[in-house]
Each structure stands twice: as structure tokens, then as C-alpha cells.
């Protein structure tokens, strides 16, 4: 294993260590999307009776939304943890490591992708427990892959903010980005049932395509015409948010 890969691995493990050592810190990120899934299903379940609703029941429709919310929480947590490391001076010591900034960034955000598996798995399991049909192995794998990719992208976004503000007080901004991106999509209803302004936002929101990709299997079959836009949107997000984070890392300490 090369030195750079080892650094990425160490930093990724350090990020994951927090889940094991301070399990309490992960509870809100796991609980919130699960509560949202169960709560929204209880509240808005009748919406599935609307003409034009594309799923048999509301829970099936929003399980992928809950999984993506889990990704958003994991991405934001990476930024909050980095801000804490900056406040405590640990990050300044990390910058002394003889490694490219890109390697350090990869290590910091890599843990978000793995960490997102925890809340999304709990949401997925909760969905199955309340009667959401099994979407199939391929659809499940695709959904989790998209969740991990989104967590990576949102970790880059949160990292950019952490590097810019250098304080945990920016946490609401980090959380809000993912919150807005996930909910301003066809999260609660199919596109044709959205309000006009929401439809317009959802059309330009890349997470819409990620959500539609993750929703395959839950609603309809997995098809390439719905898969490639999800992968392309995710690729675009990673390129944009990743380059912003790299720029932030390169500027830090100069």
C-alpha cells in the first residue's frame, strides 16, 4: 500500500472511530431520518391516495428519501467534526504531515461515505419492518451506492464550510445544505403532483436525479434510463463540491 493510500485509510478510520468510541454522537444522525420516515408516513400517508401518486403506499415512496437524509447527516457531521478539530488545533498538526492536501481531504471525507451506511441501513430496515416491499438485491445495492456517493459530496460541501468558517458554529449551514438538497426534490410526491415552483427547483436540483435513481426497485423497476442520470448528477456534484473542498484545503494556512 502506498503512503498516500495509508494516510487516507488512517484518516478514514479516525473518522469512523468516533462512531465506535462516542456512539451517542451518532444517535441523532440515525434517529432523525428514522423518525422522519415513521412520522411522515403516519402524517402524510393519505397522500398516496392522490390520483397520479406512483407508489402503492407513502412509506415505500419515502424510504429512499430517508436514506438520502442519512447521507446528508453523515456529510454534515464530517464538516462539524473537522470544525471541532480546527478549533482544538488538531487540524493544524495534521497539516504538518508530509502529504498532499488532496490526500488529507480524501481521508477526511472518505469516512462520511462509510458512516452513511449506518443511518441509511437503519432507515432501510425500519422501512422493511413497517411493510415496505423488498426492492431486490440490485436496487438495494444501487440505492446504498448512491447514498454513499451523496454522503461523499455533502462531506466535501461541509468540509469547504468548515475550512472557511473554522468554527462549529457554522454547523447549521452545513446541515442546511443537505436538508435543502434532499427535500427540494420529488421527496413527498411524484414530480407531476408538485407545486409549479417546486417542480422548477426539483428539475435543476441534481439530488432529484440521485433520488429517482435510489427510488428504483421501491417504485418501478431498475432501468438504465433512470440510472445514468443519477450517476451523472452525482458525478457532477462530486466534481463541483470536491473541487471547492480541494481549493479550501490548498488555501488553508497560506
Amino acid at each position: 500500500m502506498t503512503g498516500r493510500a495509508r494516510i487516507v485509510l488512517w484518516l478514514g478510520r479516525r473518522g469512523l472511530n468516533e462512531v465506535l468510541r462516542v456512539p451517542g454522537a451518532s444517535i441523532p444522525g440515525v434517529l432523525a431520518p428514522t423518525i422522519f420516515l415513521l412520522g411522515l408516513t403516519s402524517m402524510f400517508g393519505a397522500a398516496a391516495r392522490l390520483p397520479g401518486f406512483t407508489a402503492d403506499d407513502f412509506a415505500t415512496f419515502i424510504v429512499p428519501v430517508g436514506m438520502l437524509q442519512g447521507a446528508a447527516f453523515s456529510g454534515a457531521a464530517t464538516g462539524v467534526n473537522l470544525a471541532r478539530d480546527i478549533e482544538r488545533g488538531w487540524f493544524d498538526r495534521l497539516l504538518l504531515v508530509p502529504a498532499p492536501r488532496l490526500t488529507l481531504l480524501a481521508g477526511i471525507v472518505a469516512s462520511a461515505a462509510l458512516r452513511s451506511l449506518l443511518p441509511s441501513s437503519v432507515v432501510f430496515a425500519a422501512g422493511l419492518l413497517i411493510g415496505v416491499p423488498w426492492p431486490g438485491l440490485g436496487a438495494t445495492a444501487l440505492a446504498f451506492a448512491l447514498v454513499m456517493g451523496l454522503a461523499l459530496g455533502l462531506a466535501c460541501y461541509a468540509t469547504t464550510l468548515a475550512l472557511a468558517f473554522r468554527t462549529q458554529q457554522a454547523a447549521p449551514l452545513m446541515q442546511m445544505g443537505g436538508f435543502v438538497l434532499v427535500l427540494f426534490t420529488p421527496a413527498f410526491a411524484p414530480e407531476d403532483l408538485l407545486a409549479g415552483w417546486m417542480h422548477a427547483i426539483a428539475t435543476v436540483n441534481p439530488v432529484t436525479y440521485v433520488l429517482e435513481g435510489a427510488r428504483q426497485g421501491f417504485v418501478g423497476d431498475v432501468t438504465w434510463p433512470r440510472t445514468w442520470p443519477a450517476l451523472a448528477a452525482l458525478g457532477g456534484m462530486l466534481a463541483l463540491l470536491g473541487s471547492l473542498a480541494v481549493r479550501g484545503m490548498r488555501r488553508t494556512g497560506r
Binding site: G24, I27, P28, L31, A32, I35, F36, L38, G39, L40, T41, S42, M43, F44, G45, A46, A47, R49, L50, Q168, Q169, A170, A171, P172, L173, M176, F179, V180, L183, F184, P186, A187, F188, A189, L193, L194, A195, W197, M198, I201
Partner: protein, 255 residues
């Protein structure tokens, strides 16, 4: 006493305004959630059994305002817990002021914040094509219920902070806010909720508060729901303020 309460309330308000992590939950998150709900479920008003309302925005507004008021309560609790952790609360206890003024100052600040939240959501409603069907009297009724409920939720947050004495525990209450909300008729008509939320909502005082806030927004002011909402909010405020004072005494006894 009044001067001390006013000074502590002013300080609490200044602290809130300076910290973005306090301001965001007070209005920003509930407003974004309101937008997501309205944009996503605007056709819900055509569901059989949905009460006649001018728009889904008008219906949802009461739910988002209730959510904001609850989160304001959590923010009050976090603020007190931070003061306990940083030692400022102990300095207040050592100061020659009535101890109950510490709680009352924070509750006065909670009332002002709640009034600001009501004003914010009414402005959002009007700016995005909604209406206050009950007119100025309706707006006053919403403000009255909102302020009393804000004090009650603030007292709840402070009580938890005084008992727990750490920020992490108070922050842990955050998800519970949603559990309580989702088990009420704040966001959707009670008859259209799924079981068991429908049964829980029947006995959840939050349903009365949300319905009281909603009534003047979606039609002419009717005494029943508004008075029920005011009574429920008043009940929460009285019980939780008493609990708050008891928690303070308990803390003093241990100190």
C-alpha cells in the same frame, strides 16, 4: 426584580442573536420544512376528508409555527445548559438577585422570541400568497397562543437543562420534538392521519395548540379552537414554569 428580569432577558436575546446555531432552528429550519411540505404536497387539499382551507400553505403554517416554537424551547434549554457548563450560571447564582429572576428573565426572552417567530411566519404566509382569514383579531389570537406556548416550551427546555446540566442531553431532546409533533394534528388533519398517530393526536395537547393557531389563519376566528389552544398553551406554560422553578430549587439545594 423587574429590572433584573429585564436585564437578563435582554442578555439572553443578545446571545441568541449572536449565535447562528441558535437562530437557525428558530425560523430557518421550520421555514424550509414548510416550503418542502407545501411544494411537495400542495395537492393534498383535494383529498377526501381534507377540511376546506384557502390554501395548503395556510393549513401548514400553524404546524411550522408550532415546530418553530418547540425548537425555540430546545434552544432556550441549550442556552441555559451552555451557561451551566461555562460557569456563568453559578456566577448568576452568587449575584445578589432573586434566583427566580434567572428563570423569569429567560422566559421573558422566550416570549419575545416566540412573538418574533409568529411575526416571521405571518410575514412568510402573506409574502407567499397566504392570508390571515381571521383578520387583525385572528393575528392577535395567533400571537397570544404563540407567545404563551413559546413560554411553556421555553420552560420545558430550561427544566431539562437544569436537571441534566449538560448541553449534550438537551440536544438529545431535538429528535423528540419531531416525535411529539408527528403525533399531533400540527401538519395534517387528524382524521387523515394514519393509525396510531391518529389516536395519539387526539390526546396530544400540541394538537390543541396547533389547531388553535390554525383556526384564525384558515377562517373567521371561532371561540372554541382558539380558547382551547390558549388553554392548552397556558396549561403547558403554568405546569412547566412550576417545574422549572422546582428544578432550580433542587439545583440550589444540591449546590
Amino acid at each position: 426584580m423587574t429590572r433584573v428580569v429585564a436585564a437578563l432577558a435582554r442578555r439572553a436575546l443578545r446571545t441568541t442573536a449572536r449565535r447562528p446555531q441558535f437562530v437557525a432552528p428558530l425560523v430557518l429550519f421550520p421555514t424550509l420544512f414548510l416550503a418542502a411540505n407545501v411544494g411537495g404536497l400542495t395537492r393534498a387539499t383535494s383529498l377526501p376528508g381534507f377540511p376546506p382551507v384557502p390554501s395548503f400553505l395556510d393549513f401548514q403554517l400553524a404546524g411550522s409555527l408550532t415546530q418553530a416554537l418547540l425548537l425555540g424551547g430546545v434552544a432556550s434549554g441549550i442556552a441555559i445548559a451552555l451557561e451551566i457548563e461555562m460557569g456563568f450560571f453559578d456566577r448568576l447564582l452568587a449575584a445578589p438577585i432573586p434566583r427566580v429572576a434567572i428563570v423569569l428573565g429567560r422566559l421573558c426572552a422566550a416570549a419575545v422570541v416566540a412573538l418574533g417567530q409568529v411575526a416571521w411566519f405571518l410575514a412568510v404566509d402573506l409574502a407567499f400568497g397566504g392570508s390571515v382569514e381571521g383578520g387583525p383579531l385572528g393575528a392577535l389570537a395567533v400571537a397570544a397562543i404563540g407567545v404563551v406556548a413559546g413560554v411553556g416550551f421555553g420552560a420545558t427546555g430550561i427544566t431539562i437543562a437544569l436537571l441534566a446540566r449538560n448541553v449534550a442531553t438537551v440536544q438529545g431532546v431535538f429528535p423528540l420534538v419531531f416525535v411529539i409533533l408527528f403525533g399531533s394534528s400540527a401538519f395534517f388533519p387528524r382524521d387523515l392521519l394514519q393509525s396510531p398517530a391518529r389516536e395519539v393526536a387526539r390526546y396530544n395537547p400540541l394538537s390543541l395548540i396547533a389547531d388553535g393557531l390554525r383556526d384564525p389563519l384558515v377562517g373567521p376566528v371561532s371561540a372554541g379552537p382558539v380558547l382551547e389552544g390558549l388553554a392548552a398553551a397556558g396549561g403547558v406554560a403554568v405546569v412547566m414554569t412550576a417545574a422549572c422553578v422546582l428544578a432550580l430549587r433542587r439545583r440550589l439545594a444540591r449546590a
